[in-house]
């Protein structure tokens, strides 16, 4: 006899259906990745092998230098995503909502960096005293992006404290449009460029005898690493950091300890903003061009990186950024190209978001995410 059709059974059947679909998707995506990888390896061994000659007759295989270049550009890109992702993750940890205007804080960093460095270039200091100018530009950009984040919190989010989480989320999208348009009004809609970097910085150099890396990218990696260590120290080893972690977990009890919750939330925004400012400068120096929409795609990708790493987790944000950056740089060529897909490098944005989907299918809490029980997040 078939089981009786009840509301309970219907619900159960639907859940089983969803589970089956998810499992199907997991299998399909994993198979696609594994087959792609196998074909890539085959292609590397012999570009005219049996499979490749049918599926991807144009296969040439990658040289070691090409591969190295992809990995390095992926890592440096990823390090910048990671720096931005920290801001998403920290604000989510403390307030439980995604601040979609965070990408704009990054854009403000890149814009102020552009203005300051061009002014310095006009005065000649950019050439005569490059390191000092760079430091100055960095400081100004950090100050401006930090201020943007602080004002944003004060004006747009604090009045909404205690309202349902969807409301600050929607507000953040509004804030994002607002900042973009302010940028258009103040600086015009066209793309603006950074001054040329000195030759000694941007030239390719040998590192440790076997890696060739562009100086700018090396700088990105080093600065990102320093920022990350500084942030780790701040959060794990100082009193402010302890307050931040306490507020992230339970605001009421944190206030019982005598912690000033509002000030801690502002600090969190400020630190996230500073990190975005650093990322903005690095982005500007590396790509040498900014527009008012510069913050959008990196912002969305950094948000994805934060989710991939496990939102609310700082180490996860950085790891997620590196994962996403490397994947979007390397994966099109080693996973998609062997399938005979044309123009794979154009697909890097799609790949970045496929990584997000894949990670969420396999580990919904993200790489380093902890399961947040309803009790924890209440």
């Amino acid at each position: 006899m078939p089981p009786p059709v009840t509301a309970e059974n219907n619900k159960l059947n639907r859940r089983l259906g969803v589970d089956a679909f998810l499992t199907f998707m997991r299998v399909v995506m994993s198979t696609f990745v594994i087959l792609g990888l196998l074909m890539f390896i085959g292609q590397q061994i012999d570009p005219d092998n049996f499979v490749a000659s049918r599926i991807n007759p144009d296969a040439t295989g990658l040289t070691a230098a090409q591969f190295e270049g992809l990995v390095i550009s992926g890592l440096s890109q990823g390090a910048m995503y990671g720096l931005i992702a920290l801001g998403y993750s920290m604000v989510y940890g403390v307030l439980g909502f995604i601040n979609f205007a965070h990408g704009e804080v990054f854009m403000v960093g890149a814009m102020t960096g552009m203005i300051t460095s061009n002014k310095l270039d006009e005065s000649g200091a950019w050439e005569s005293n490059f390191l000092l100018s760079l430091l100055f530009v960095l400081v100004i950009a950090i100050i401006c992006s930090t201020l943007t984040a602080i004002i944003m919190e004060r004006v747009a989010y604090r009045p909404l404290r205690g309202s349902p989480r969807l409301i600050p989320l929607i507000t953040s999208i509004g804030v994002s449009f607002f900042i973009q348009n302010v940028s258009v009004v103040l600086l015009g809609p066209g793309a603006k460029s950074y001054p040329t970097l000195p030759e000694w910085l941007s030239k390719k150099r040998e590192l440790l005898g076997f890696v060739t890396i562009e100086g700018t990218r090396l700088m990105v990696l080093v600065v990102a690493a320093i920022s990350m260590v500084a942030l780790w120290y701040l959060v794990e080893r100082t009193k402010i950091g302890k307050a931040m972690r306490a507020v992230a977990e339970d605001k009421e009890i944190a206030s019982l300890m005598g912690i000033n919750v509002n000030r801690t939330i502002v600090t969190t925004f400020a630190v996230g903003g500073a990190m975005a400012g650093v990322a903005g400068i690095l982005w500007g120096l590396l790509f040498r061009s900014v527009v008012h929409t510069t913050g959008f795609l990196p912002g969305i990708k950094a948000f994805s990186a934060a989710v991939v790493g496990g939102i609310g987790n700082m180490g996860g944000a950085m790891a997620g950024g590196i994962t996403l950056g490397s994947a979007e740089s390397v994966a099109p060529l080693i996973l998609l190209e062997p399938w005979g897909i044309d123009g794979v490098s154009q697909l890097k944005d799609a790949v970045a978001f496929l990584v997000l989907i894949f990670v969420l299918l396999v580990k919904p809490t993200g790489l380093f995410g902890e399961r947040l029980s309803t009790e924890d997040r209440a």
Binding site: E249, D250, S255, G258, N260
Partner: protein, 244 residues
């Protein structure tokens, strides 16, 4: 005893009225706690017990009336102002920072203090009192058992070096076997000279260790007496101790 030595009460409420919106919670509540006392507050559900604690600590502002700490009016002062001057609370259900280590939890209790050596001395004192806590120092607080969490919660409160400890339903959610131990702990902390103000459902147990007790009914203090007298009060026995 303490009423006679002339010292001002440690904590005092004078004609406090509290509202949540239009709902009148506390009605002309008036009482004082003297240094070193152990006082319990009894009352049924929604009688205003938690609101009393929250008002004392400044989490809820009274509509009229004043809260005094060491004779000073602190009604408009912040929570941290009061914590710095010796009031602290062990919240209902312990509410540890579950994802933080036991050590972080304890140190957060001392957030407003900056004297490192005194803080370390207090940490040692807490380890002496709760040796189990020391063993679990680097563990996440959420992984501890209920009894251990209770110890950490009390330790965290003690880390602020309080003169008076407010406890909101300390035995709630503990296994029955632990309730007794819990009261032993409260007695132990009290014996070190900390005044304790405990809100408790378990009236019998609370009165057995308390010096004095108040009974709150729909926001009004209806009984205020020594613990012995309250235990002997037939009305109270009937309504709170489950005897007929």
């Amino acid at each position: 005893m303490s009423d006679t030595d002339g010292a001002p009460p440690l904590l005092e409420m004078r004609g406090v009225n509290t509202h949540y919106g239009a709902v009148h919670i506390l009605k002309d509540v008036e009482f004082s706690i003297y240094p070193g006392e152990l006082v319990c507050l009894l009352g049924g559900n929604a009688s205003g017990k938690s609101t009393t604690l929250k008002t004392l600590l400044g989490m809820v502002a009274p509509t009229t009336g004043d809260v005094l700490l060491n004779g000073e009016i602190v009604t408009d002062e912040s929570i941290s102002y009061r914590v710095e001057r010796g009031v602290t609370m062990v919240p209902e259900n312990r509410r540890l920072f579950k994802r933080l280590s036991v050590k972080d939890n304890l140190e957060l209790g001392a957030f407003l203090r900056s004297d490192r050596s005194a803080i370390d001395a207090d940490l040692e004192r807490i380890f002496e009192m709760f040796p189990r806590v020391k063993e679990r120092l680097s563990q996440k607080a959420g992984t501890l058992s209920g009894g251990e969490q209770q110890m950490v919660a009390m330790g965290r409160a003690l880390m602020s070096d309080p003169k008076v400890l407010l406890m909101d339903e300390p035995s709630m959610g503990l296994a029955p076997a632990l309730v007794q131990t819990n009261f032993e702990l409260i007695k132990q902390i009290h014996s070190q000279g900390v005044a304790i103000f405990v809100v408790e459902q378990n009236a019998n147990m609370a009165l057995s260790i308390a010096d004095r007790g108040w009974v709150l009914q729909t926001g009004r203090v209806v009984l205020d007496d020594t613990a012995e007298a309250l235990l002997a009060n037939p009305h109270l026995r009937a309504s709170y101790l489950g005897e007929t």
